[in-house]
C-alpha cells in the first residue's frame, strides 16, 4: 500500500504542484501590494539558468546554487522594480510581460552560455543528489524500506514541501504584520496609504523583489527537478499560466494561490482522457469563472467566514 502511494508518478506530479504553488505565490506577493507583475516566467528563468549553469560549470553544491539563483532573481527584481514604480495596472502587467519575453529572447540568443534553444541538459537532479548524500553518510534507502527511485522522489517532495511551507509561513506571518498591512493598504489605496505614513516606494519594490526571489527559487528548483531546461520553458505561456493559478484560486487570499496551483496542475493530468479538447475546455472554464466569480474561487469573505467571523459582502 505504501509502495503504491510512493509511486514516482504521483510524487513527480506532486513536485510540479509544489513548484507551481511557489510560482503562484510569486505573483501573489506583488499583487498583494497592488502590483500585477507578469514577469514571474522571466525571473523563474533567471533562477533556473543561474543555478543550472553554476552546478554544471563549477560543480557547486546545490543549496548554494539554488540560493544564488533565487538571490540573483531577487536583485534583478529590485532593478526592474524601481523603474516599474511609475507604472500601474495593465501598464505594469504589459511591461513585466515584456521583460519576461526579453529575458527569454536573451536565453535563446546568448548561445555561448545557454546553448540557445537546445537548452541545458544534464542538470543534477536534487533528489538524486540527496540519494548520493544519504549514501555517503551511510544511509541506504533499503534500510528505510524504500527503493532507490522512491527515495529520490520522496526526498525531493519532502525538500520541496519544506520550502513551500517555509514560504507560506513567511508570507502569512508577514501578511499579519506591519509589512502586510502596508502591502494591503497600498493595494487598496496608494495615496491614502502614503498619507498614513507608509513609504510606498520601499514597500512596492520590496514586494516586487520578494515575488522575483520566490519565482527565482521556484525556477532553480524546477531546473533541479526536471533536469533539463530550455528557453521555451519560460515563455509567454508560462507567465499566463502562473497568472491563472493565482486568479483562478482567488487573488485576495494566499490560500487561493495554493488552491489554484494545485487544482490547475492536476487538471491536465485528470483531463488526460479528453486530451484533444482539454485546452478548449480550459478556455471556456476561465471565461465562465470570471463571469460567475471574478475574484476567484476563494475570496476574502469566504476566508473570514471560515474563520468564524460574521461578515457580509456589502451591496454599496
Amino acid at each position: 500500500m505504501l509502495g503504491e502511494l510512493l509511486n514516482p508518478y504521483y510524487l513527480q506530479v506532486l513536485c510540479f504542484i509544489l513548484i507551481n504553488i511557489m510560482l503562484a505565490l510569486s505573483i501573489y506577493v506583488p499583487l498583494s501590494s497592488g502590483q500585477l507583475s507578469l514577469g514571474s516566467a522571466g525571473f523563474m528563468g533567471i533562477g533556473a539558468y543561474t543555478s543550472a549553469l553554476l552546478t554544471i560549470h563549477y560543480e557547486l553544491p546545490l543549496y548554494v546554487t539554488i540560493l544564488v539563483g533565487a538571490l540573483l532573481a531577487g536583485v534583478i527584481g529590485i532593478i526592474v522594480g524601481i523603474p516599474s514604480l511609475r507604472l500601474t495596472g495593465v501598464y505594469l502587467a504589459i511591461a513585466t510581460l515584456g521583460f519576461g519575453e526579453v529575458i527569454r529572447v536573451l536565453f535563446v540568443n546568448w548561445e555561448s552560455l545557454t546553448k540557445g534553444s537546445v537548452g541545458l541538459t544534464g542538470i543534477p537532479q536534487l533528489g538524486r543528489e540527496l540519494l548520493k548524500f544519504a549514501k555517503s553518510i551511510g544511509i541506504e534507502p533499503s534500510a528505510l524500506g524504500l527503493k532507490n527511485n522512491q527515495f529520490v522522489y520522496l526526498s525531493l517532495v519532502i525538500v520541496l514541501l519544506i520550502i513551500v511551507l517555509f514560504i507560506l509561513w513567511f508570507v502569512i506571518r508577514q501578511q499579519n504584520s506591519r509589512i502586510g498591512r502596508a502591502y494591503s493598504s497600498i493595494q487598496m489605496d496608494e495615496k491614502a496609504a502614503e498619507s498614513m505614513g507608509i513609504n510606498i516606494t520601499y514597500y512596492k519594490v520590496l514586494a516586487f523583489a520578494q515575488g522575483a526571489f520566490i519565482a527565482g527559487l521556484a525556477g532553480a528548483l524546477f531546473a533541479h527537478t526536471i533536469g533539463y531546461i530550455s528557453p521555451s520553458d519560460f515563455s509567454y505561456h508560462r507567465a499566463v499560466e502562473i497568472l491563472i493559478f493565482t486568479v483562478f484560486g482567488g487573488s485576495e487570499v494566499i490560500i487561493g494561490s495554493v488552491f489554484g496551483a494545485t487544482i490547475l496542475t492536476l487538471l491536465p493530468e485528470v483531463l488526460r482522457f479528453v486530451s484533444d479538447y482539454r485546452y478548449i475546455f480550459y478556455g471556456i472554464m476561465l471565461v465562465i469563472l470570471m463571469a460567475v466569480r471574478p475574484q476567484g474561487i476563494l475570496d476574502l469573505y469566504l476566508f473570514y467566514r471560515l474563520k468564524g467571523k460574521r461578515i457580509k459582502r456589502g451591496t454599496s
Binding site: F170, R173, Q174, S177, R178, I179, G180, R181, A182, S184, S185, M188, D189, K191, A192, A193, E194, S195, M196, G197, I198, N199, I200, L206, E252, L300, K309, I311, K312, R313, G314, S316
Partner: protein
Amino acid sequence: MVLEVKNITKRFGGITALKNISFTIQQGEIYGLIGPNGAGKTTMFNCITNIVEPTEGEIFFNGEKITKLKPYKITEKGICRTYQNIRLFPQMTALQNVMVGGHSRISAGVFRSVIRTKSQKQEEKLLKEKSEELLELVGLGQLKDQFAENLAYGQQRRLEIARALASNPTLLLLDEPAAGMNETETDNLFDLIKKIQSMGITVLIIEHDMSLVMRLCDRITVLNFGEKLAEGTPDEIQNNEAVIEAYLGKEEEETIA
C-alpha cells in the same frame, strides 16, 4: 506655532489654484479653512501633506521646513489627514484600518515581523490596544471586525478620523468631516473634535457646515478663488464685509440660523 504656511502658490497648467497664501496655526488651536467650492481648500491640504507640490512658497511644521518632504515623511513628523471623499481601505476591517494608521509609530521590518521577536509582539500588542481605544473614542468599538466598506457613511467618516489619530499626529487635518451627516451625528462630531483638541492635538478643518465651523473654530481663514479673503476669529469673519459679500452673503440665512 505648529504650522506656518508662507506665501504658497499652486498652479495647475494655466489655472492658479492657490495664490500667495499665508497663515499660521498655534498649538492646541482648532483652525478653520472655509470658502466656496473651488476656492482651493483641498489643494491647500494637498500642499501641506505634499501630495501635490506647491509651485512657490514654503511650509514649516514646528519650525522645520516640510515643503519638499515625501508625504509619508510628513506623516512621520506628525501631520495626518482625512479625505473629503472618504479613502478608507475598503477590504480591511475597521481595526486593521486604524492599525495601518499606526504604521509610522512602530518599526518592525521584514525580519522582525516574520520571526515575531519579543519587541515586535510587544509593539503590535500596544498598537492593537491603542487602536481599539481609538475606535471606542470615535464610537466604533462594536464594529471593529467589520470591513470598512460595509460601514455606514457616518461611521466611515469617524473611522477615517480614528485612522488618522493612530499616527499620533500633532496636527490633524480634517477635510469636510461633517459632510453627509445629520444633526445628531454632527453634534457627536463636534464633541469628538473637542475631545481631540483636549488631547493636545491641533486641528485644521475644512468644513461647509458654517454653524459647526463657527462653534468649533478658534480662528478661521477664508479662501475665495485661490486667494485669501480674510483671517480671524469666528466673530470677525462673520462680520467681515468682504466675506459676507463673496461667500456668506447668499447663505447667511440658513447657515447662521
